[in-house]
């Protein structure tokens, strides 16, 4: 084989009291896509950050084309031709899309920025990824998925010899995922060495040549993807025998008894918010899972927020258990035992400086308080219960939540909701960025909760998850409701058809207008 473009040997990293990576070696070759898989907290992101100079190595070496390099900062790594998409969207929300696109390599002419070129080139590049966003708009105003596409496009367009992608698809739709994988193939053709991290195993098998499995900060195996089955890969990630695994839950969860006879516990009707939502209605009965489907920016998250009182409404009503809720605030929903898992874990969910314990107890505070005093014992009890039940992996309840891996952070947020003992659960991307094991657990948990009579609204960018997990699906586009699918009518094709029809109708309408 050729000499690797980039080689890491015996990399180790400790954080105060935590061993994140121990003696891990990988080799990246030109024109090859190298997958990095493992459970949440296995050390994937840490390995990447060691390569790109975000953290100094505690031990081991990084070699670029045979030469020892120790990047002092991401800047030096970037200058050496390593482009990276970090796990969370790391861009500046106030800046325009174009500026974010060119972050770190802005074109100048006579010392001045070439804004025209920036706008034109970024718009052009984004169009190639199927995004027609107004590049002069602040990035922060766009949905998370689109932000992620901008981050991807930015890194790929940088002409690098190594491209590292840490969970690039966690907020993407199947359609965008397809497009991304096409781009990965193109990079490969151009002789770029690609590192690809994902919890979505389909993508690994479709796009990657080599797969490295990490577990607990150690290297488990490295080898050609083709030599592994899906089941074997999962077994290696989890550290169990392939035989013990029942991959379960991949099919539709038990055909539950129809719930039509029960009174709806949530009736959100005619939700309308200028420019964002138009007459969307969501009705959920106890034990029912209603999925919201749609493309990026179709208004799913906004619908959930509207139901939860976190988005002011121009018109529309929200009824819970027959009581009409007039105050459009999250607090009023929580009092009526409606809970929401927000889409953007970091910005809207976690309080990063607080411990796991305090994050879990946050929403249920009124129940845990007597005469203004927080009952330590009750908090400890409830936290222990849910940490066990959701199998949250941490040093203990007092660990800072920001030190957890993504999947465990997600579980902390779920625990926060569950200790409210909610009647209605709004889940916006509950499995975003969590590993196969955890994902299966979360999916099973959702099913279990529904079985116990909870009403669930489920949003997921993985269409499969919506299709398999929902009893009813509401399809959205541009903030408007396209239709409702029930029971066996719910298929990926049916959903895509609905969306496609609406799109072509719109094109016709637009053509009609332009003809006039």
């Amino acid at each position: 084989m050729t000499t690797p473009v980039l080689a890491v040997t015996s990399a180790s990293k400790r954080f105060a009291g935590v061993r994140a990576l121990e003696d891990v070696s990988i080799e990246l070759h030109a024109g090859s896509v190298h997958a990095l898989v493992g459970e949440n907290g296995a050390g994937k992101s840490t390995l990447i950050k060691l390569i790109t100079g975000v953290y100094p190595l505690d031990g081991g070496q990084v070699r670029l084309r045979g030469e020892d390099v120790a990047f002092a900062s991401p800047r030096s790594a970037q200058q050496a031709g390593i482009a990276t998409i970090y796990q969370e969207v790391h861009l500046a929300p106030q800046l325009s899309v174009a500026r974010n696109f060119f972050l770190g390599r802005e074109p100048t002419r006579f010392g001045a920025l070439n804004l025209k070129k920036m706008n034109a080139e970024s718009a052009e590049a984004l169009r190639r990824y199927g995004i027609a966003a107004d590049v002069k708009r602040p990035l922060g105003e766009l949905g998370l998925g689109i932000q992620q596409m901008v981050a991807i496009a930015r890194a790929i367009e940088a002409d690098a010899s190594v491209v590292i992608m840490d969970e690039p698809t966690s907020s993407l739709e199947p359609r965008e995922v397809d497009r991304l994988l096409e781009v990965v193939a193109l990079l490969k053709e151009q002789g770029v060495a690609v590192v690809y991290v994902s919890h979505k195993l389909d993508e690994i098998f479709r796009a990657c040549d080599t797969v490295t499995v990490l577990r607990d900060g150690r290297l488990v195996s490295t080898g050609p993807t083709a030599e592994l089955t899906r089941r074997q890969l999962i077994a290696r990630m989890l550290g169990r025998d392939a035989a013990e695994l029942d991959e379960g839950n991949r099919t539709r969860l038990s055909a539950r008894a129809t719930q039509d006879d029960k009174e709806p516990v949530l009736k959100a009707e005619h939700l309308t918010r200028r420019l964002i939502l138009e007459d969307v209605s969501v009705v959920v009965r106890p034990g029912e899972v209603v999925g919201l489907a749609g493309l990026l920016g179709s208004g799913r998250s906004e619908t959930a927020k509207a139901i939860f009182g976190a988005l002011p409404l121009d018109s529309g009503t929200v009824e819970v258990g027959g009581a009409k809720l007039n105050r459009q605030t999250p607090a009023s929903r929580i009092r009526h035992r409606v809970a929401m898992l927000p889409e953007d874990r970091k910005a809207e969910g976690l309080v990063p400086g607080m411990s796991i314990r305090d994050n879990i107890g946050l929403a249920a505070l009124p129940q845990l308080t007597k005469a203004g005093l927080v009952s330590r014992k009750r908090v400890d009890d409830i936290v222990k219960t849910f940490m066990d039940r959701l199998r949250i992996k941490a040093a203990g309840p007092h660990q800072r939540v920001s030190e957890l891996s993504g999947g465990n952070q997600q579980k902390v947020l779920l625990a926060r909701l569950l200790c409210l003992n909610p009647r209605v659960l709004l889940l916006d991307e509950p499995t975003r960025g969590i590993d196969v094991g955890a994902k299966a657990e979360v999916q099973a948990l959702i099913a279990e909760l529904a079985e116990k009579g909870m009403a669930v609204v489920l949003i997921s960018s993985e269409l499969e998850e919506v299709v398999e997990g929902s009893d009813t699906v509401v399809v959205l586009r541009d903030g408007a409701q396209l239709g409702r699918l029930v029971g066996d009518d719910i298929t990926e094709d049916a959903i895509m058809d609905l969306i496609a029809d609406a799109a072509s109708e719109q094109v016709e309408a637009e053509e009609a207008v332009s003809e006039k």
């Binding site: 105060a16 999250p330 607090a331 305090d358 992996k393």
Partner: protein, 329 residues
């Protein structure tokens, strides 16, 4: 099967972590040792008495400031609030013949503290409901407040001959001045509030992530208004004590630049300005450190310019030592 394995600290890490966490205590220790060696007459009861009589207003104001900073805000109005409380106190207590209401001192103190609460509620509403950035909202009061105080007293320093004030200044219990006991009690209460009550829990959550707190159904507005009201109240208490110390209400100078002292005490005490954390003991220690530093410099008859430079250096050094590690984001 977790990665999170406790690794034995090696000694160097342990020491540097301890210093990082407890820099302010170390600094105080060094300063005390220096004084014991270099300052004549330092190791006397008098020194403590002096500190104890000068410290309470700064400590009390810093406690409120620490809570506000814990929410990710800042309260620039505390010094002015002290002046307003002092002016209200004077107005209520002086005889009608001199343009006051001639009320008993207890009533006057209550009204003065209420005035502080009102100022705080105003700040809180502007911050929480109108969503104006705290630094701007409270800057407004900083700019306008002394004018209000001057209007209340009719412009000038008003001397107050209130027997109770002598108690405030000189009264002692087991050799500790009453005012110091009050300050210590307030510190305990604030510490308790922050650490043990639902209110404190919410305060820290809001400081840590306001948006997440809204979505977790916390009464964010109410909590913020309460925090600013408490800060106003504590500032008013400090204003009353400062007035008693001076035996006069001097709206132009009472509390002048206290906002800077309080912010400094909080920051030197290890509370970061971005919210989500309140270190009460650190704040109190920070206040003591600054006051002792001032006293030391004055005792050694240092020229004002040198004193200011030493102070600035100590502040920056203390914050530098306690800065967050590179690792944590």
């Amino acid at each position: 099967m977790t990665v999170l394995e406790k690794v034995k600290f090696n000694d160097r890490t342990a020491v540097s972590t301890w210093i990082r966490e407890h820099g302010v205590y170390l600094a105080l220790l060094i300063l005390v040792v220096y004084n014991v060696i270099a300052t004549t007459n330092f190791v006397t009861v008098d020194t403590l008495q002096l500190l104890f009589s000068q410290l309470p207003p700064v400590i009390i104001v810093s406690l409120g400031m620490a809570m506000v900073i814990g929410t990710g805000g800042v309260d620039l109005s505390v010094g002015t609030t002290m002046a307003i409380a002092s002016a209200v106190l004077a107005k209520v207590v002086i005889a009608p013949s001199q343009g006051g209401f001639g009320a008993p001192i207890a009533v006057a103190i209550i009204v003065a503290v209420l005035a502080g609460v009102i100022v705080g509620v105003f700040n809180g509403v502007v911050v929480a409901v109108a969503r104006v950035q705290p630094i701007v909202a409270t800057l407004g009061v900083l700019v306008a407040g002394r004018g209000i105080a001057l209007v209340i007293t009719g412009g000038a320093l008003v001397e107050l001959f209130v027997p109770f004030f002598a108690q405030v200044r000189l009264g002692k219990f087991l050799g500790i001045p009453y005012v110091m006991i009050v300050a210590a009690l307030l510190a305990v209460i604030v510490s308790f509030l922050v650490r043990r009550t639902a209110f404190g829990y919410r305060l820290l959550a809001i400081g840590g992530n306001r948006r997440a707190s809204v979505l977790a159904g916390l009464p964010v507005k109410r909590t913020l208004i309460t925090v600013y009201a408490l800060s106003g109240m504590l500032a008013a208490v400090a204003g009353v004590i400062a007035t008693a110390r001076l035996r006069a209400s001097d709206p132009s100078y009472i509390g002048l630049l206290y906002e800077l002292s309080a912010i400094t005490a909080v920051v030197v005490g290890g509370t970061a300005l971005n919210g989500g954390r309140v270190r009460v003991l650190g704040t109190v220690t920070g206040a003591i450190l600054i006051q002792l530093l001032e006293t030391t410099l004055v005792s050694h008859n240092a020229p004002d310019s040198v004193a200011r430079m030493v102070e600035a250096l100590i502040i920056i050094a203390a914050v530098y030592i306690q800065r967050p590690t590179r690792r944590s984001k």
